[in-house]
Subunit: 271 residues, 2 copies
Amino acid sequence: MPHSRIPEAAPAGLRQQPQPRLVTGTGPVIGRALQILGTFTAQHPLLSLSELARKTGLPVSTVHRMLGELLAWGALERDEHGRYRVGLRLWEVGSLAPRTQGLRERALPYLEDLAALTRENVQLAVREESEIVFVERIGSSSAVPTLTRVGGRLAITATGVGLVLLAHAPAHVQDAALARRIQRHTPFTLTDSGQLRRVLAQVRTCGYAVSDRQLSADTLSVAAPVTTAAGEVAAAVSLVVRHGSMPVGALADLVRTSSRAISRVLHTPIS
Amino acid sequence: MPHSRIPEAAPAGLRQQPQPRLVTGTGPVIGRALQILGTFTAQHPLLSLSELARKTGLPVSTVHRMLGELLAWGALERDEHGRYRVGLRLWEVGSLAPRTQGLRERALPYLEDLAALTRENVQLAVREESEIVFVERIGSSSAVPTLTRVGGRLAITATGVGLVLLAHAPAHVQDAALARRIQRHTPFTLTDSGQLRRVLAQVRTCGYAVSDRQLSADTLSVAAPVTTAAGEVAAAVSLVVRHGSMPVGALADLVRTSSRAISRVLHTPIS
């Protein structure tokens, strides 16, 4: 495979699964249909009827009837082996989400400039509760491999974008993120909540975050916030480079220049 | 606004709306929930309760109850003014669609190479019945402005990617596309079905399609097919340049090199 710098799925230990929602098999019918949609993951993008029934805990006949409605609308499709997959129409509706696709469309020219200038990995992420979701990643074939996938999630305290988004999150979100047991990926992973609180305070003071070899032994990530007209942090931009390849100060200047340009364009109402 | 090369929404006359699905207000509850989701468009990404009730033709009380379930799961979110918008969780699930996001992730390095090499617009599209949906677009700030939006639709007979996808579509899809009245955007727009059938035959013979000023008076698009291991055309790649800026033969060589590289990587199973 000529290009393999973006693993389709990160190793299980490095991925955070979306937190389970309180939708049970006995809930209302819309909840059950959404439960079926939520069963598809990057690791399992193709599922059979029996797999869907097993994973949702719903009777095969119920799942079969609901699949009929989801297929008719185009939320799901079937592949040549009869397995179900997320459909093009659901992707189209999902691509209307202002917090992700709208942001992505407006930020893309600046992310492309930053990637072309540095030939490094550029990432754009937003926060969902105490987790981060990657909205875009651009990398050159010469850049250090990263674990990011668009629509994927990674540990909030171990990434540059995560530290920026957590630093500006409400106190209860910070408490929830720091109360969890934090997995150690490398000897440099920060796991102590007291130390992480000091890092978050520093991020707010400096205006950027550095994650130094926290996720893998050869990468360094520098991130800065994207702010709305109301001054709220809506997203974070990062450059992920090979550790030691560039001074942190130079990276911080680059990423802050880009994140401020994106913030400025977000302040302009969509005509 | 510093960057304005990608209009948020193409002029109404140039956009094709997704064809209406046969989901009525009296249908099953899942169909009605999907009907609510389908009401959001690029032109109307934010909708109030009363707008949703009006557009779906469902009672306000019914819509309100279903919105509760859609909000609880994260399919929709509310903005600061209480309006509804497509939620991050629906975007996440949508991003698992193998026909779009999976294709996009694998094609992106090649599209980026092509854009960096040419400094022109590079587009990736798939077919949905007799319409095309744009999965990715990359452009430099010096490239000619285009009407594409990721997740958006444009006329299938007036674009390079559309001609490629239609040329390799089943006969009934071609018949449906050519039976429609084809809108004239410029004096060069092909509207005669006999002439279009000859163009489609030529596309199959040459291995690429040219749309010359069909959509706007200053753009030329050259497109080539992306094929699966089974030899089916899964997508099309195009270069969109200013008319007269580059010879068509050179553009065809570039776009075919890229589409073949993407086809090759699609033939490698996802590990």
